[in-house]
């Protein structure tokens, strides 16, 4: 009887939470996102693809960075991509960073250092808005800040369409099937062949999108690989410890029953 009660509760809980997940999507009016395969999505062993991260960074740097800041990421963080210290120094030095004030009280430009954070394309939110109609959001957390973030951003980049018949768009507005409300102030940022990859990787919108999503997923959760690795150890330890305690409990309780 006690068992049946527990089963009932577990059943009720799982049925309702399955329903919850479904209607949560319906509630936000999002279109159904196509599930892509992501190496970092694997529940227990997800990892980032180092080569994709490097390519994704290139896409960000050459395209998205013109409008989007990523102010939570520093050059030193790029060590996660397998870059050496010298390489990172080199990458950082290609950027010009505003620093100061110096002894005379003036701001000055210098070349970047590994400890610098990515510079933002606009000096402030208003400038970003004035240039684009809507301020482009910082991308450091974008994957965590959207439902099903990786598939969402991937879908968004490929989601541009002609607006339906009779739908007038203002200047600077575009139609995107994935964006909530479908009207977006960002023109399709990618086109085939626009970024030159150094190896044989196809230079297509699809490939660029996959790579930038990999990079953005890393930016949102740089700790993910370590988190999952530690997690496995913690689970194994807890399971073993719980098993041991179960045996001890059985032994102690034996004389009672």
């Amino acid at each position: 009887m006690r068992k049946s009660l527990l089963t009932l509760m577990v059943l009720a809980a799982s049925v309702s939470s399955a329903g919850l997940a479904q209607t949560a999507m319906a509630a936000t009016g999002e279109v159904h996102l196509e599930e892509q395969e992501w190496g970092f999505d694997d529940f227990f062993t997800g990892t980032y693809d180092r080569a994709a991260l490097q390519r994704g960074y290139k896409v960000y740097r050459e395209v998205c960075a013109a409008c989007h800041s990523m102010k939570r990421i520093a050059f030193r963080h790029l060590a996660d991509f397998g870059y050496s210290e010298a390489q990172i120094k080199n990458i950082a030095s290609e950027y010009s960073i505003e620093d100061g004030p110096n002894e005379d009280g003036d701001m000055f430009d210098r070349s970047g250092r590994p400890s610098d954070y990515f510079p933002s394309p606009y000096p402030n939110e208003n400038a970003a808005k004035a240039a684009n109609g809507v301020a482009p959001p910082d991308l450091s957390l974008i994957i965590k800040a959207r439902h099903d973030g990786a598939n969402y951003v991937y879908g968004l980049l490929a989601g541009y369409e002609e607006p339906p018949e009779g739908k007038e768009l203002a200047v600077g507005q575009y139609w995107n099937k994935v964006m909530p409300g479908h009207v977006i102030a960002m023109a399709a940022p990618l086109s085939d062949g626009m970024i030159a990859y150094e190896d044989e990787t196809p230079e297509t919108v699809d490939q660029y999108s996959r790579d930038i999503v990999e990079f953005l997923a890393w930016a949102a959760e740089p700790e993910m690989e370590r988190r999952k690795r530690w997690g496995i150890n913690v689970l194994i330890f807890l399971a073993a410890f719980a098993g041991l305690m179960y045996c001890v409990k059985k032994k102690i309780w034996k004389p009672v029953y």
């Binding site: 009887m1 006690r2 009660l5 009932l8 509760m9 009720a12 809980a13 309702s16 329903g19 919850l20 209607t23 949560a24 319906a26 509630a27 936000t28 009016g29 529940f43 227990f44 939570r72 963080h77 959001p137 450091s140 957390l141 965590k144 800040a145 959207r146 439902h147 973030g149 909530p180 949102a220 740089p222 700790e223 988190r227 999952k228 530690w230 997690g231 496995i232 913690v234 689970l235 807890l238 399971a239 410890f241 719980a242 305690m245 179960y246 001890v248 409990k249 102690i252 309780w253 009672v256 029953y257």
Partner: protein
């Protein structure tokens, strides 16, 4: 007082301390030989688990507070700094963030246990009421804590909930202004919320102490709901229940760890990773999952209460919602006097058991209603708001009509003569 009946300890250091401050005697009495019914099931693990969660929250919270900055310009960035730059910061934050959820899971199960086995009945009324007080304090603490990272849901959730207070006649606006420290949820709100979020867990700790004290006066209830009649019905707490609690806790922590390490944001809302922006309202403001049933009851009252066919309104819809939401928990305080049936355990009250299990389903369903938009429909046809109202009605009826009625009219099954007999009969 314990000094008089003190039995000396063999270890000279322990004895030296104990004869001056009898902490060892106290621990021995309350957690060593403490007589405990021998027929507990695993529902009895959740008190110890809740205690573990409280300590976990306090320890991780204090570490977070070392790195957190309570300022609207800096709060979000300081939390991200914890996630990215502080050594192990992501782990501390995910333990704390998911800890709130798992604390509520443990406490909800703990409360259900109390309701199912009639633990609120005499002589445990004060013990029960202290528990309800802890739950209310937890809700306050968690609500305030969710505001601290200063994401979009922090700001807008706080705005919705603090606005509720303005529904209270006469003093409502004053209370709201006091909570805000200004004219909207802003920097003064955040700083006072941080101060309170640091304080309240220690208040909870104090009430937990009283709760445990009361428990050790009356002794534990048990799945049969009958009193212990002598040593044959009980076991010393140690080692029997220390080992059982350890095992149960480890299983609980295993599931908790699964969330911390593999889906740390599954229970949260993505909008809280967008920095708070007073100029942009999120499409759909939802509270944390553990508040959803109460949020549904709040929104179920969509009508004014007054004299029908006139314009006279005693309670407008907003105040009605607030009364029902807070009332739904305040009812728990008087539960011992709503259910006066002499039998405690649902095992021997078949009717009570059915109504209580319906209440559990009803409560989960209310949680589902709470996370939908106000105009959502079930299967695209039935407006959810009506179902939410029906579920709210059942919730209130359970406490105000069904329990008093059952108290008078349910016959119940015959109780076993003693715990020992029941245990022996089962093991045959």
């Amino acid at each position: 007082m314990a000094n008089k009946e003190r039995t000396p300890f063999e270890n000279p250091v322990v004895e030296w301390v104990d004869s001056r401050l009898p902490v060892f005697t106290l621990m021995q009495k309350e957690y060593g030989v403490f007589p405990t019914p021998k027929n507990f099931n695993y529902f009895w693990n959740f008190g110890a688990i809740a205690m573990f969660m409280l300590i976990t929250m306090i320890v991780t919270g204090i570490v977070l507070a070392m790195h957190y900055t309570a300022n609207t310009e800096l709060a979000f960035d300081s939390v991200e700094r914890i996630m990215r730059e502080v050594n192990g910061g992501w782990l501390i934050r995910y333990i704390h963030m998911n800890g709130a959820s798992f604390f509520f899971i443990a406490v909800y199960i703990h409360i259900f246990r109390g309701m199912y086995y009639g633990s609120y009945k005499a002589p445990r009324e004060i013990l029960w009421m202290l528990g309800v007080l802890i739950f209310l304090l937890m809700m306050g603490t968690a609500f305030i804590g969710y505001v601290l990272p200063w994401g979009q849901m922090s700001l807008w959730g706080a705005t919705v909930i603090t606005n509720l207070f303005s529904a209270i006649p006469f003093v409502g606006d004053g209370i709201r202004t006091l909570l805000w420290g200004g004219f909207s949820v802003d920097n003064p709100t955040l700083t006072r919320f941080f101060a309170l979020h640091y304080l309240l867990p220690f208040v909870i700790f104090a009430v937990v102490f009283l709760h445990v004290w009361a428990l050790h006066v009356t002794g534990s209830n048990n799945p049969l709901g009958i009193d212990t009649k002598g040593p044959q019905d009980t076991l010393p707490f140690h080692p029997y229940y220390t080992i059982k609690d350890t095992f149960g806790l480890l299983v609980f922590v295993l599931i908790y760890a699964l969330f911390i390490f593999f889906m740390p944001n599954a229970l949260g809302h993505p909008d809280n990773y967008i920095p708070a922006n007073p100029m942009v309202t999120p499409a759909h403001i939802v509270p944390e999952w553990y508040f959803l049933p109460f949020y549904a009851m709040l929104r179920a009252i969509t009508f004014d209460i007054g004299i029908p066919f006139t314009d006279i309104v005693f309670i407008n819809a907003k105040l009605g919602g607030v009364i029902v939401m807070f009332g739904s928990i305040l009812l728990w305080f008087v539960l011992p006097w709503l259910d006066t049936h002499p039998i405690r355990s649902a095992r021997f009250r078949p009717l009570f058991k059915i109504f209580l299990l319906i209440l559990v389903a009803d409560f989960i369903f209310l949680g589902y209603v709470g996370m939908q938009t106000a105009d959502a429909k079930l299967f695209g046809v039935v407006p959810l708001i009506y179902l939410g109202q029906a579920a709210t009605a059942y919730y209130l009826a359970y406490f105000l009509v069904i329990l008093p009625w059952l108290s008078k009219n349910e016959k119940g099954r015959e109780l076993p003569a003693s715990i020992n007999e029941a245990v022996l009969a089962k093991n045959k």
